[in-house]
């Protein structure tokens, strides 16, 4: 008997190529990994999504660009040149024999498991602006970097509210940041480095704002920042400007309880306000391959559990650089990449000596989530509960913690009004995915990049717990918002087209119960509708 023709059995996806080692991300760690693996004799593919196209940037994907791109980002060829120029490691990788593909998104990772057995092997979903394809791998080294943390205030939807990682990318890789005067939120090493970088590129820094009463970073290490105003014990009240633009920011002083102090508001002219409170490891791919993640506030949040050669708990998958834990240390990132690259090549049979150096002891940075919670608290005290926490779906802080159905449903009932986060907590611990689906916070096209942390922090705070105690909300492919006509396959196995049905194709499943024995075979591309008495 032939196998169920409507099942996946003879339609398993075939990667269009197979590469023994794939490295995702061409930052310091990724390049070092790719070079080390290639020098170890492995065939290596190194992919990086930059330069991303303007439409993706406009959605703040993958970084928080805040609409502060110059027109030049529409010139793909120019951006490709600049991205290559900005990263000397790419040439080194090329010389080492690495196949380097830029402008290439990694939107999925697929592995067999208890519920998936039909894949011919582990594979990645890749895409550029025109098409998507699959690449099989034996070893995967994820060097996906980190993204920004944003916390809302009135006006944070305006063009000009952006993140430090977005600013760094636009300044150093694209040389296309459309900003003249920038106000920086935070005073840790990321904030100070961002301020110094902006000054270096001729951008006026309007000030550094710190909610705490002391500067967090070593400001003495950044001599160019001398003279830049530092606003301690301040938070943001509002970003103002003509339609849709940031033209000024109103700051207010806060007291020890993070409450606003009367008559301390000051309006600062600037076209850009940049969150530089810290970075979050990009663990999406690691989550998809089933790598175990642990919470480490001193490394930015959820990070992979790693062996001493940077191997995750998922078979053949390594993690290096900021996605393995944010440390902002380039030398360390390179070292991690080198170790993982050698280990990957060795595990594929390369006869390398010496064995990879064990990683040196790595010191963690300060815990960041308590700091972010402090900022958020000040913003809530000053800005109130009617501020959007999710821009895409326009969900306010109040709607989130009261678990309101979305406004477009225009729903009102005493039963619904009696429900809140508190009543949900009576039924079980807080689960962000559940709250997201009820309120729609985080369900928009930016794929919750702009709101993930503040949703988690607000829910944790409202539930009387801390963010490390609530489960990580899920990631699902595609990890980048890709158009249907990019994601679709140009070519499909014939059986996929011929045998496709909407639901199982069990002939009696939808037969009228009053016609006993009637079978309806759902038609396919090759067969007509068949009605028969079984």
């Amino acid at each position: 008997m032939t196998l169920d023709p409507r099942s996946i059995a003879d339609k398993a996806p075939r990667p269009e190529r197979h590469v023994p080692v794939v490295v995702v991300g061409a930052g310091e760690a990724g390049v070092a990994a790719a070079v080390a693996a290639a020098r170890g004799g492995a065939q290596v593919l190194l992919v990086d999504e930059h330069p991303v196209d303007n439409d993706m940037m406009a959605m703040d994907v993958p970084l928080y660009f805040g609409q502060r791109m110059q027109e030049s980002v529409r010139n793909r060829a120019l951006m490709m040149e600049r991205v290559v120029e900005a990263n000397p490691g790419l040439a080194e990788a090329h010389e080492a024999g690495v196949d380097v593909q830029l402008g290439t998104y990694v939107w999925g990772a697929f592995v067999n498991g208890p519920s998936v057995r039909e894949l011919p092997g582990p594979m990645l979903g890749l895409a550029d602006d025109r098409r998507s394809w699959l690449v099989g791998y034996d070893r995967l080294i994820v060097a996906a970097g980190a993204r920004d943390v944003a916390l809302g205030f009135p006006g944070w939807e305006r063009a000009g509210a952006m993140g430090a990682a977005g600013a760094h990318a636009l300044l150093t890789r694209y040389r296309a940041l459309a900003s003249k005067r920038m106000l920086i939120l935070g005073s840790g090493s990321l904030a100070l480095a961002t301020a110094a970088l902006a000054l270096e590129h001729g951008i006026d820094v309007a000030g550094v704002v710190e909610v705490g009463d002391a500067v967090h970073g070593e400001i003495g290490a950044f001599p160019t920042l001398h003279g830049v105003p530092v606003y301690l014990s301040h938070t943001v009240k509002e970003a103002r400007g003509k339609v849709g633009e940031v033209e000024s920011v109103v700051l207010v002083q806060v007291d020890a309880a993070l409450e606003p102090v009367v008559d301390t508001e000051r309006e600062i002219a600037c076209d850009t306000i940049c969150w530089a409170l810290g970075l979050v490891p990009n663990v999406e791919l690691l989550h998809l391959v089933g790598a175990r993640l642990l919470f480490a506030s001193s490394r930015g949040g959820w990070v992979p559990q790693l062996s001493d050669v940077m191997q995750t708990t998922a078979a053949g998958v390594f993690a290096v650089g900021d996605c393995a834990g944010v440390r902002g240390d380039r030398a360390m990132a390179r070292e991690q990449g080198r170790v993982a690259g050698i280990a990957a090549a060795q595990s594929l049979g390369a006869n390398l000596s010496p064995l990879p150096a064990r990683r040196r002891t790595e010191s963690d940075g300060p815990a960041v989530h308590a700091y972010w919670q402090q900022w958020l608290q000040s913003l809530v005290h000053v800005g109130g509960w009617e501020v959007n926490v999710c821009q895409c779906e326009e969900v306010t802080r109040r709607e989130l913690v009261e678990v309101k159905p979305p406004r477009y449903l225009k729903w009102d009932s005493p039963q619904m009004n009696a429900r809140s986060l508190e009543t949900i907590l009576g039924d079980g611990p807080v689960n962000q995915d559940q709250i997201k689906r009820l309120t729609r916070a985080g369900m928009g096209p930016c794929q919750s990049r702009r709101c993930r942390e503040q949703v988690g922090l607000l829910l944790a705070q409202s539930a009387g717990t801390t963010i490390d105690r609530i489960p990580l909300p899920s990631f699902r492919p595609p990890l980048r918002p890709l158009p249907l006509n990019v994601l679709w396959p140009a070519d499909e196995p014939p059986a996929m087209r011929e045998q496709w049905v909407s639901w199982f194709g069990i002939p009696t499943q939808f037969s009228p119960h009053w016609e006993a024995g009637m079978a309806i075979a759902e038609p396919t591309a090759q067969t007509p509708l068949i009605l028969s008495d079984e």
């Binding site: 008997m1 208890p114 519920s115 689906r437 396959p489 069990i506 499943q509 939808f510 396919t524």
Partner: protein
């Protein structure tokens, strides 16, 4: 630890079938307790196409009667929307769409055949590849996640209880009856037990030594960014099921399933695969005007099927205080009616509004345990054939 207080009716499984049954019972004043191993409606019950157009079913007429009242009955939004549009890209697809419509007609519902122009007027993002379609003045769709939560909350509003994160570990049988349900949070006494445990229902049938063949399978869906709302969101065809949500997202599934095993009470993994690309292709073919829209999410789910694809909703002969309910992968839309039927079986000894003899358990009394291989669903000797999928021992 909760107070391990039993209930007149203990329901195993907080999916859409168990929740609806519990809600109907609670609103009739019956003391009801739902035991859920995770979060209510968390698996396939809360993530599916949301379709509510199953007039072929013995529950079909009640499904159609109840859905327009559900928001009011529950007191929570279900996002129910009436009507369905079927778009056909081929004569074969048109024949299927017509067949669905004609089944409705037999039951007294109205429908219209659409030509290409009419399809494009109703669905501006349909393309010239559409050869026609059907407009059903019946059926509809709702938001599964919001609906399952609505059932759960409404059940509580009527005094019913739900224990989440509570896994059932066994059943205590005394004198031919299940007297208690054993869980990770204690033992719960029961006069009547309803098993509505989705893909794990078969594990309970085995515990109770009854033949219930059930094959679990994994299926997938995709969701796009929001589009402007169409006049009717209930648009499907080209081998896809789904809808435009009231937010505007296109949410569609279909295509090949993968047969799997669900060997224990743990929530089965439900990842997506590269099939999301093939789904994207069919959706762009169905609605070419939306081909440039971005896919922002996908889901996978695990559902269970009986050999004939039809539900089992039946009271066991022994132990005779147990009702088994599996909807054979088509449970969400029928849930208002099925829950009502189960509540009537508890309170009145039988379903008052429909004859359920066609979906009785007895039809599988002699089904051999290797029925999946015999039906050609899986290969003999394949890794998943090592586990049984119910049937007679």
């Amino acid at each position: 630890m909760p107070d391990p207080k039993g209930a007149a009716v203990v329901i195993i499984g907080g999916g859409v079938t168990g929740l609806s049954a519990g809600w109907w019972l609670a609103r009739s004043g019956v003391d009801v307790l739902i035991l859920e191993k995770g979060i209510v409606g968390w698996e396939a019950s809360g993530r599916n196409g949301g379709g509510a157009t199953h007039v072929y079913s013995p529950f079909g007429l009640e499904e159609q009667r109840l859905w327009p009242q559900m928001d009011e009955l529950l007191g929570y939004p279900t996002e129910h929307q009436p009507y369905r549009i079927g778009i056909a890209l081929s004569e074969a697809q048109l024949a299927l769409a017509r067949r669905w419509a004609e089944i409705g007609e037999t039951r007294g519902f109205r429908w219209e055949l659409l030509d290409r122009q009419q399809v494009k007027e109703l669905v501006p993002i349909a393309g010239d590849n559409a050869i026609g379609g059907t407009f059903l003045h019946f059926g509809g769709h709702a938001n599964p996640q919001r609906t399952v939560q609505g059932y759960a909350w409404a059940l509580q509003d009527h005094g019913g209880r739900i224990l989440q994160h509570t896994t059932v570990t066994g059943l205590t049988i005394h004198g031919g009856r299940v007297t208690a349900v054993e869980t990770t949070r204690g033992s719960f006494g029961a006069e009547t037990v309803i098993v509505a445990a989705g893909p794990q229902t078969g594990l309970f049938a085995e515990m109770l030594r009854v033949s219930l063949p059930l094959a679990p399978a994994r299926v997938e869906m995709i969701a796009t960014e929001p589009l402007p709302l169409m006049r009717h969101g209930g648009v499907a065809g080209n081998g896809l099921y789904g809808r435009q949500t009231l937010r505007g997202n296109l949410v569609y599934g279909g295509g090949p399933h993968e047969w799997i095993n669900v060997p224990d009470m743990a929530t089965p993994e439900h990842p997506n695969t590269p099939l999301v690309r093939n789904l994207a292709r069919r959706l762009a073919e169905l609605l070419p005007g939306a081909a440039h829209m971005r896919v922002i999410r996908s889901w996978g789910g695990v559902v269970e099927n009986t050999p004939d694809g039809l539900p089992v909703v039946d009271r066991l002969a022994s132990p005779d205080n147990v009702i088994i309910a599996t909807m054979s992968s088509v449970g969400f839309g029928l849930s208002p009616a099925v829950g009502k039927a189960i509540s009537e079986m508890v309170m009145h000894g039988r379903c008052l509004f429909a004859d359920l003899s066609a979906i009785a358990l007895g039809r599988f009394a002699e089904t051999p345990s290797d029925w999946r291989e015999r039906a050609g669903w899986i290969a003999a000797g394949s890794p998943i054939a090592e586990a049984t999928a119910g049937g007679a021992r």
